[in-house]
């Protein structure tokens, strides 16, 4: 299926999901452009998986509507048309099958010819690094291997839309890097909606993002634009050892300073978010000197997605959702 340039592959309009009195997703408006690798961010419980389940018709919306490649979801029509590949955050398989048998079943469901199916299975297994384990029963595969298999079954038919819910959460660091590279490559042929709460992964592969919190869309847009719009300049300070009292007094003063928007203290490192980098640079040095704090390091850092997230959501992505 081809879409006009700039068209949206995934559209949500006031998409809502309620479980009794709990609103898991609250009037989500979202457009994911064709061909983008779209990071879907939020703390645990923000509504990311709920959105994925609505888009795959595994759950029914309480309100609003959504389309995949222009086809309304809800009754599973996009699934039946083979428009999407989906990886669950905790992929489960029939453990009596081998990895190759599972992919063979998936290929048959997509009505691939025998030759095409064999070729695509080999390609998918190679892409996710599971060629050697292809004939092993799934019940004997590790969690990371199952996650790779989940990606393989999602990409087997080269779907125009890929919905990946936490696709690298069970992988070791090396596997994570490999899989992120795969996802980045997939962006050339598919539209990828990639949910995670690991922001560095998103920075590596995504061109656009949306941030959800408490079931609501906080912001969405191109990553570079959001970094420019929301990320405040950050100064990183590393005081010398043995001056805890002076550092504590300086921190109190910094928290009260009008140019400081956020102070974070981790181990022996202070991260100071400021409103005006130029002005703050001068004032910060003066305050350090005034409190007699000796520094090993003082540097201005490039704002990260973590900073944007922290500013918009008020906590880190991996921190649990506060009760509403």
């Amino acid at each position: 299926m081809s879409s006009p340039p700039g068209a949206a592959a995934i559209v949500c309009r006031a998409l809502t999901k309620r479980y009794g009195s709990v609103v898991a997703l609250d009037r989500l408006d979202l457009e994911v452009p064709v061909g983008s690798v779209f990071g879907f961010l939020g703390p645990n419980g923000a509504g990311k998986t709920t959105t994925m389940r609505l888009l795959t018709s595994l759950a029914q919306a309480s309100g609003g509507e959504a389309t995949l490649a222009g086809v309304p979801v809800g009754d599973g029509e996009p699934n039946r048309r083979g428009l999407l590949g989906y990886l669950d955050q905790d992929p489960r398989f029939h453990t009596w099958m081998t990895a190759r048998e599972l992919l063979d079943l998936v290929g048959r469901l997509y009505r691939m010819t025998d030759a095409d199916r064999r070729a695509r299975i080999d390609e998918a297994l190679e892409t996710v690094g599971l060629t050697d384990a292809a004939r092993r029963p799934i019940g004997g595969l590790s969690g990371g291997m199952r996650q790779r298999l989940g990606v393989a079954q999602a990409i087997l038919n080269r779907p125009p839309i890929l919905l990946l819910d936490e696709p690298v959460s069970s992988l070791d660091p090396e596997g994570r890097v490999d899989m992120l590279a795969v996802i980045r490559r997939l962006g050339g042929t598919s539209t990828v909606l990639f949910s995670t709460h690991i922001l560095t992964d998103v920075e590596r592969v995504c061109d656009r993002i949306a941030i959800l919190d408490h079931g609501r869309l906080v912001t969405t847009g191109p990553m570079t634009e959001l970094l420019e719009r929301y990320a405040r300049p950050i100064y990183r300070l590393e005081p010398e050892d043995g001056q805890s009292d002076a550092v504590a007094r300086m921190l109190d003063a910094l928290r009260a300073a009008p140019f400081v928007t956020h102070v974070e203290e981790t181990a022996a490192v202070l991260r100071i978010a400021v409103s005006d980098a130029e002005d703050a640079g001068r004032q910060l040095l003066a305050m350090v000197a005034a409190h007699g704090v000796g520094l090993l390091v003082l540097e201005r850092q490039r704002p990260t997605l973590e900073d944007v997230f922290l500013q918009l959501v008020g906590r880190r992505a991996h921190e649990p959702q506060a009760a509403a």
Binding site: G82, D90, F93, H94
Partner: protein, 253 residues
């Protein structure tokens, strides 16, 4: 019914890989062969066990006794097998999340369900077929050769009754996320049907009610009304499947 062929292939492969079809084949074969043996040698066993202290007079066993024994043994084990095969068929896939994996592919929910019911029916068919062949052969050796078509009709009616019990449990499996709850629904239905089968007007139309015309057909006798109960049971299985589909159609997974 998008994806029915591929799903049926997967379900039959699962019946084979998980040894279900093998267990059913062995159990049904043993019961099929054992029933005429039991009918033939029970009087002699009773006499031996009673010894010289009691004088027990038993009529000589006949082929009709072998048929009756066959229907009782294969029927009872068959109902239990039907419940065991159907109880987890949908519920386990929902509980484990494998249904979600498949239903995001080009598979309609109707095809997902029908493939499962057809696979259960196929497993029961294999079991009943092996039991019928064994039972027919040993009845011929130990008693007399019965009309093969009548015997086949009896086996067909028995199979339909078992599929009816399986479909009731299958409905429970589609409605719930628990195999045990599905089994409870199947066993509950079995008890209710056993009670209802005692009612003269309704009894012949229950799955168990198919045994009486089956037994008559097997020994070459006039079965009485059989078309009506046959159609009622076929319609029942279809209706139960329709209810399962309606319940499953928009179920959240």
């Amino acid at each position: 019914m998008i994806g029915l062929g591929s799903m049926l292939r997967k379900e039959l492969l699962e019946q084979w890989r998980t040894r279900r079809i093998l267990v059913v084949a062995v159990v049904f074969s043993a019961l099929g062969i054992g029933s005429p043996l039991l009918a033939r040698y029970t009087p002699e066993l009773v006499k031996v066990l009673a010894g010289d202290q009691f004088q027990i007079v038993l009529p000589p066993p006949t082929a009709a006794d072998a048929v009756s024994q066959f229907l009782k043994n294969v029927g009872q084990a068959g109902v239990l097998s039907a419940i065991l095969l159907a109880m987890g068929s949908v519920a386990v896939e929902k509980e484990r999340g494998t249904a979600a994996l498949l239903l995001t592919k080009p598979v309609s929910r109707g095809a997902f369900l029908l493939a499962k019911l057809l696979a259960i029916g196929t497993t029961l068919l294999v079991g009943v077929l092996l039991a019928a062949i064994g039972g027919f052969y040993y009845t011929a050796i130990l008693f007399e050769a019965l009309p093969p078509l009548g015997w086949a009709a009896m086996a067909g009616l028995l199979l339909l009754g078992l599929v009816a019990y399986a479909s009731l449990t299958f409905l429970g499996s589609a409605l719930t996320r628990s195999s045990l709850a599905a089994a409870a629904i199947g066993i509950g239905a079995m008890i209710v049907l056993a009670v209802v089968s005692a009612l003269p007007a309704i009894g012949p139309f229950t799955p168990g009610g198919l045994n009486a015309p089956g037994a008559a057909l097997a020994v070459g006798k006039e079965p009485g009304a059989v078309i009506g109960p046959l159609l009622v049971n076929l319609a029942g299985v279809s209706a139960i499947f329709a209810v399962a589909w309606l319940a499953f159609r928009r179920q959240e997974l």
